[in-house]
């Protein structure tokens, strides 16, 4: 009982901190880091919803990130929308579009398993990146596309995006939590543990995997759309970025694969650090070396992630006390 209450208190407190953050820290450099952190909380949770629960390591999530970004760029350009809150209304639609993209991609990739699946998601990612360069009529190629500039003051400019990303993050976490507790989530976990046996026991593996993959696509597409509007422009290498594919995976790993809070904690730790590194270390090579070293430290010292390691520790302490 106390555990449940404590957990609720932590969630309420975390949400209060997240909502209050931009009112306490108003420096645009800080709120920019906060925006990216919250955005990656959403993106890492989305990745974990499919890959963490099902055990299928997808390294092509930038496909949906980029699809969402290009969708909102096209909508604002074709409808001649002017900058403002109204554009946020299109963000969920961009998510749906990314979800539609995820259907054929998932159908194709999920015909394979394990390593082949990893590689085919990477290959599909590169196809989309090349398409972004080549489909001039939709993406304007390497010249990129511009989005309308919102008329907000510089001091509070980031806050609008911060709250949009926060809403996306809350939705992603709630969806992950709901899936984890549902029958559907159990089926995903069964697939992770032993797909053939799950199938033998009556889990419709193909349908379950594809549904989770599309859900992941929708949530990631939402993130991509917010990101595009924040940047004000879309270019192929930023919309379809290889580092994005791996960053979301690393965040989920750091926090704890397949847990609801894991990707959240992973993103909260890694993204500020990464943003800080890119802001402070100007030598491009050095920041790469530091980032890579950080990667290796995470993998070397916390192979199971923070949340499972802490849970293990708590369990051990409890066992020691009851003895």
């Amino acid at each position: 009982m106390t555990v449940v209450l404590a957990r609720r208190a932590v969630i309420v407190l975390a949400l209060a901190c997240a909502i209050g953050f931009p009112f306490v820290f108003s420096n645009p450099a800080t709120t920019s880091i906060a925006f990216f952190t919250v955005l990656y909380v959403a993106a890492a949770s989305a990745w974990n919803l499919f890959s963490g629960y099902s055990g299928y390591m997808a390294l092509g999530n930038a496909v949906f990130y980029g699809s969402g970004a290009y969708f909102i760029a096209n909508v604002t350009n074709h409808l001649n929308l002017s900058g403002g809150m109204g554009i946020f209304a299109w963000v969920p639609v961009a998510g749906l579009f990314a979800g539609i993209v995820a259907i054929p991609v998932g159908w194709l990739a999920l015909r394979t398993r394990r390593h082949t699946f990893v590689v085919i998601t990477i290959a599909i990612f590169f196809i989309f990146q090349l398409l972004a360069y080549n489909l001039q009529s939709v993406t304007n190629g390497s010249a990129g596309m511009q989005l309308p500039l919102p008329p907000w003051l510089a001091a509070t400019y980031n806050d609008y995006f911060y709250f949009a990303a926060l809403i996306a993050a809350v939705i992603a976490i709630v969806v992950s939590w709901a899936v984890r507790r549902s029958h559907f989530g159990l089926q995903l976990l069964a697939i992770r543990d032993d797909e053939d046996r799950a199938r033998g026991l009556g889990v419709r593996t193909g349908r379950v995997k594809l549904t989770a993959f599309v859900l992941n696509g929708v949530l990631t597409g939402v993130c991509g759309a917010i990101y595009a509007y924040y940047l004000g422009s879309v270019y192929p290498p930023f919309a379809f970025e290889a580092i994005f594919d791996l960053t979301v995976a690393l965040m989920a790993f750091l926090g704890g694969l397949g847990t609801v809070s894991g990707p959240v904690i992973g993103a909260l730790l890694l993204e500020p650090l990464q943003q800080y590194l890119t802001q402070q270390v100007t030598a491009a090579g050095l920041s790469l070396i530091l980032f890579g070293a950080l990667f290796l430290i995470v993998i070397g010292f916390l192979p199971h992630g923070i949340v499972p390691s802490v849970e293990q520790l708590v369990r051990r302490l409890k066992a020691a006390r009851s003895r």
């Binding site: 390593h115 290959a123 053939d196 070396i289 980032f291």
Partner: protein, 293 residues
């Protein structure tokens, strides 16, 4: 048109041979250790920079320089296996190995950026500049020399794996890791040697790559994506499959550039994999996985 098409096919076959050599290392590492070495692409670039440095600062011809770069890359490969791969937790080995080797790739890219900046470089020699007249078109000598080198090294690799004691151990480890351990094969040693061989293959591949392309530390991404496509297309763990897949994919890419447009050529390269996997999820020569997840 006919000449262009012939040139595209010859080009594809010759560069395909070199890609096959780089991919053979990747597929061998996968076969023995069940890990995907994301750093393979940037190691090719690293090898190209090694050849470049030897040539610019010591005046050593890139082909002669292989006598130095091949052992050096072998040792780098052994070191990477020993420091970063061996210690991975066995439970999530596949996923962790991808992240770990990607981290290694980022670090190597960072070191190369610090040492050489992001400017494009290329290797220079008489065989890069001079061309041979062939079937009505001109082809730089390096394409022929590079292909010959790749064929010789692939044959040597094949003989090594099929005729030597260490080669037997490698094949045993590929067939059944636990079984190989049971009969007394030192899996750690075999893994280190395999990773070393995989890296050594990039020494030769990187030299030819550096002589036929301009490169910078960023080139590793394009390379690794292509190499991954080749090894999956050929069936993970199959060296012969990698050879056929590399030549097939590069011929298709070059022919697309002639028949359709150069813009779509590299898209075709990746699309081939997608098309093949629709019909054969295990690749061209892959076997169905018997082991459960």
């Amino acid at each position: 048109m006919g000449t262009e098409l012939a040139k595209a096919v010859v080009d594809g076959v010759l560069t395909g041979g070199v890609y096959a050599l780089m991919a053979a290392g990747l597929t061998l590492i996968f076969g023995v250790m069940e890990i995907i070495n994301i750093a393979q692409g940037v190691m090719v670039v690293l090898a190209a920079y090694l050849s470049y440095t030897l040539q610019v600062h010591a005046g050593i011809d890139p082909f002669v320089g292989l006598l130095i770069t091949i052992p050096v890359m072998f040792l780098i490969g052994v070191a990477i296996e020993w420091v970063f791969i061996r210690r991975l937790a066995p439970r999530d080995r596949t996923a962790l190995s991808i992240l770990a080797t990607f981290a290694v790739a980022i670090i190597i890219e960072g070191i190369l950026t610090q040492a050489y900046s992001g400017d494009l470089r290329s290797l220079d020699a008489w065989y890069v500049e001079r061309s041979v007249h062939l079937l009505g078109f001109y082809l730089p000598y390096i394409y022929l020399f590079g292909f010959a080198l790749a064929v010789v090294l692939l044959a040597a690799l094949y003989l090594f794996v099929s005729r030597t004691r260490t080669g037997y151990s490698i094949r045993a480890a590929m067939q059944n890791r636990a079984g190989a351990q049971l009969v007394g094969i030192d899996i750690d040693r075999v893994s280190a040697i395999t990773f070393g061989i995989g890296a050594a293959a990039t020494a030769a591949g990187g030299m030819v790559y550096g002589a036929t392309n301009t490169f910078n530390p960023d080139s590793g991404y394009d390379l690794i994506s292509r190499l991954l496509v080749i090894v999956v297309l050929g069936g993970l763990g199959s060296i012969g499959g990698a050879l056929v897949a590399a030549i097939l994919a590069l011929v298709i890419e070059d022919v697309t550039a002639v028949l359709w447009s150069p813009v779509w050529a590299s898209t075709m390269f990746f699309a081939v994999l997608v098309l093949v996997l629709v019909f054969r999820p295990t690749g061209l020569f892959g076997q169905r996985a018997v082991r459960a997840q």
